[in-house]
C-alpha cells in the first residue's frame, strides 16, 4: 500500500533545507549580490564539490553513518596530485595519472578504515573521525619527512628550504581547470563545465546502479539490521568494508576534481577541511545519519555554498561587519552537524529502549 502523504511529515523531514532556504531568501537580497553572479558561483562550486559530497552516500546506505574517514580518500588524491606536479605532468593526462596513483592508496586506506570500523560497530562516526586524525599524522610524516628524502622529489620548487618535505601550498599551473575547460559551454556569460558535470553524473548513475545490484541490496540490508543480514547469510563485515572502500575511492577522485578547479593545493590543510565541509553540506541538503540520497547532495552543496557566498556581504550590509555574517554562517552551518548527530544519538537511544521494553515484555 502506498504510504499516505502528509504535509507535516514532509515539512519535518525537510526541515533543515527549508530553514536554509528561508535564511537564503532573507540573506540573498540583503547581500546585494546579483543573481547572475550567484548562479555563476553556484555552478562553479557545484562542479567543485559535488563528487566529494557524493562519496558519503554509500556508507549511509550501509548503516555506517556519515563517513568522516573520507578525508583518507582526499589524502590519497592529494598524494597523487603532488607526485604528478613533481613529474611535470599537465592537462588531462595529469588528472588521470593522479587518479591512477590515488586509486590503490585510497583502496588500501579504505580497507584499513573499514577494518577498524568493523571493530567499533555502532560508533562508526566518532571512530572514522579519529581515524582521520590518526592518518593525518601518517600523511604529514609522508609529506614532511619522506618526500624529498626517501621518496625522490625532483622539482626543487616543491621542496622546503631544508631540502626535504613538501611546501605548505603548491600551484597547479598546468592542471588548473583542465577538466572544467575541456568541454564547457557559455550560457548568458556563464561558463558551464559540461565535462565535470558529466563525470559527476556518471558517478551518480553508478551509485544508482550499484544500489540495484546484489552487493547494493546487501548493503541496504546490512544498513537496516546487521543481525538480520547476518542471519540471511550476508557477509556483513565484508560488505561494510566495501562500502568504506567505495566511499574513500570516490572521495579521492572528488578531491582531484576539486583541486583542479581551485588550481592550488594547501598541502597540509585541504584534506582536513573537506570532511567537515562535505558532511555539513550533505546534512544541509536534508540527509540524516541513516538516510541520504543523491538529491540531498546537490541541494546541500547548493545551499551550503549559497550561505558561503552571501553571508559575509549580508552581514556587512545589515550590521556593517562582514565578519559577523561569516560567524553566523559558521555557527548555523556547522551547528547543523551537531544537531544532526544529537538527533541520531537520541533516535538510537530511543530505539534501544524500545527494543529492551519489547524484550522484557516477551520474557514476562
Amino acid at each position: 500500500m502506498k504510504p499516505k502523504y502528509s504535509l507535516k511529515g514532509a515539512l519535518i523531514s525537510n526541515l533543515v533545507p527549508i530553514v536554509f532556504l528561508m535564511f537564503a531568501a532573507f540573506a540573498v537580497p540583503m547581500s546585494g549580490l546579483s543573481i547572475p553572479y550567484l548562479l555563476h558561483e553556484m555552478i562553479s562550486r557545484l562542479a567543485r564539490d559535488s563528487l566529494l559530497v557524493l562519496s558519503l552516500v554509500i556508507p549511509v546506505l550501509a548503516g555506517m553513518g556519515l563517513n568522516f574517514g573520507m578525508v583518507l580518500g582526499a589524502m590519497a588524491g592529494q598524494i597523487g596530485m603532488v607526485l604528478v606536479v613533481d613529474w611535470g605532468l599537465g592537462g588531462m593526462p595529469a588528472l588521470l595519472v593522479a587518479a591512477l596513483l590515488g586509486t590503490p592508496i585510497s583502496i588500501g586506506l579504505g580497507y584499513f578504515c573499514g577494518y577498524i570500523l568493523n571493530l567499533a560497530k555502532g560508533r562508526e562516526m566518532v571512530t572514522s573521525y579519529i581515524i582521520g586524525f590518526f592518518m593525518n599524522g601518517a600523511y604529514q610524516f609522508l609529506l614532511l619527512y619522506c618526500m624529498g628524502s626517501i621518496i625522490p622529489i625532483t622539482n626543487p620548487e616543491l621542496l622546503l628550504s631544508r631540502g626535504y618535505g613538501i611546501r605548505n601550498s603548491m600551484d597547479l599551473p598546468n592542471i588548473r581547470q583542465v577538466l572544467d575547460r575541456l568541454v564547457s559551454v557559455e550560457v548568458f556569460g556563464m561558463d558551464i563545465p559540461i565535462l565535470t558535470f558529466a563525470v559527476i553524473a556518471v558517478f551518480c548513475l553508478l551509485i544508482v546502479w550499484f544500489k540495484t545490484t546484489k552487493i547494493g541490496q546487501d548493503m541496504r540490508a546490512v544498513g537496516r539490521n546487521r543481525a538480520v543480514a547476518n542471519g540471511a547469510g550476508i557477509p556483513v563485515e565484508k560488505t561494510r568494508i566495501l562500502a568504506i572502500i567505495i566511499s574513500t575511492l570516490i572521495a579521492c577522485y572528488g578531491q582531484i576534481v576539486s583541486l583542479q578547479n581551485l588550481g592550488t593545493i594547501n598541502t597540509y590543510n585541504s584534506h582536513e577541511q573537506v570532511g567537515i565541509f562535505s558532511i555539513a553540506a550533505l546534512l544541509v541538503g536534508g540527509a540524516t545519519a541513516e538516510n541520504a540520497s543523491i538529491a540531498n547532495v546537490f541541494v546541500g552543496v547548493f545551499l551550503f555554498h549559497l550561505m558561503f557566498v552571501v553571508s559575509p556581504m549580508a552581514g556587512k550590509n545589515l550590521i556593517g561587519d562582514a565578519q559577523l555574517g561569516e560567524y553566523f554562517r559558521v555557527f548555523v552551518s556547522y551547528g547543523i552537524i551537531a544537531v544532526s548527530l544529537l538527533l541520531h544519538a537520541w533516535k538510537k537511544r530511543h530505539e534501544m529502549l524500545e527494543r529492551r521494553l519489547l524484550e522484557n515484555d516477551g520474557k514476562e
Binding site: G90, P93, L96, V97, L100, T154, N174
Partner: protein, 127 residues
C-alpha cells in the same frame, strides 16, 4: 581453470593495464622546459654567430629573439616542433627552419638556435 585463479589473473592483468596506462599518460602529458639560446656557438670546429631577425614559433605564442637572448619555452608530450623564422636585415628575405625535438621523459633541454639553424647534429649545450 578454477574461479580463484581466473580472478587473480584478471586482477594482475588489470594492474598491468593500469601501470601501462599510467606510463603512457605520463609520456603524453609531461611538460618539458626548453631553453633556447641565441648566442655564438662553437662546436665541431665551426663557430656559428648569433642570428638577427629571429622569430621562434613553439606551442606557446611566437617570440622574437635578438642576438645574445635566451628564452624559455615549454612543450607538452613526447616531441615538439620548433619553427625558426629568420629574416635577413639586409635583404628582408625570410626563411623558415623546422626542428623536431624528441623529448621522452627528460624535463629540461638547453639548445643553441644558431647550431640548429646551422644544421649541427648536436645543438645541445652541456648543462
Amino acid at each position: 581453470m578454477n574461479v580463484k585463479l581466473r580472478r587473480n589473473l584478471l586482477r594482475v592483468a588489470l594492474c598491468l593495464i593500469a601501470v601501462a596506462g599510467g606510463f603512457l599518460l605520463s609520456f603524453i602529458g609531461m611538460y618539458h622546459s626548453i631553453i633556447l639560446d641565441n648566442s655564438e656557438f662553437s662546436g665541431a670546429g665551426a663557430v656559428l654567430p648569433p642570428l638577427e631577425g629571429l622569430r621562434v614559433v613553439s606551442e606557446a605564442e611566437p617570440v622574437e629573439m635578438s642576438p645574445g637572448d635566451r628564452i624559455l619555452v615549454s612543450a607538452k608530450g613526447p616531441s615538439t616542433t620548433l619553427v625558426f623564422e629568420i629574416t635577413s636585415p639586409e635583404t628582408q628575405q625570410s626563411r623558415e627552419i623546422s626542428y623536431t625535438l624528441h623529448m621522452g621523459f627528460k624535463k629540461q633541454f638547453f639548445l643553441s638556435v644558431p647550431a640548429i639553424v646551422g644544421g649541427e647534429k648536436d645543438p645541445f649545450f652541456v648543462e
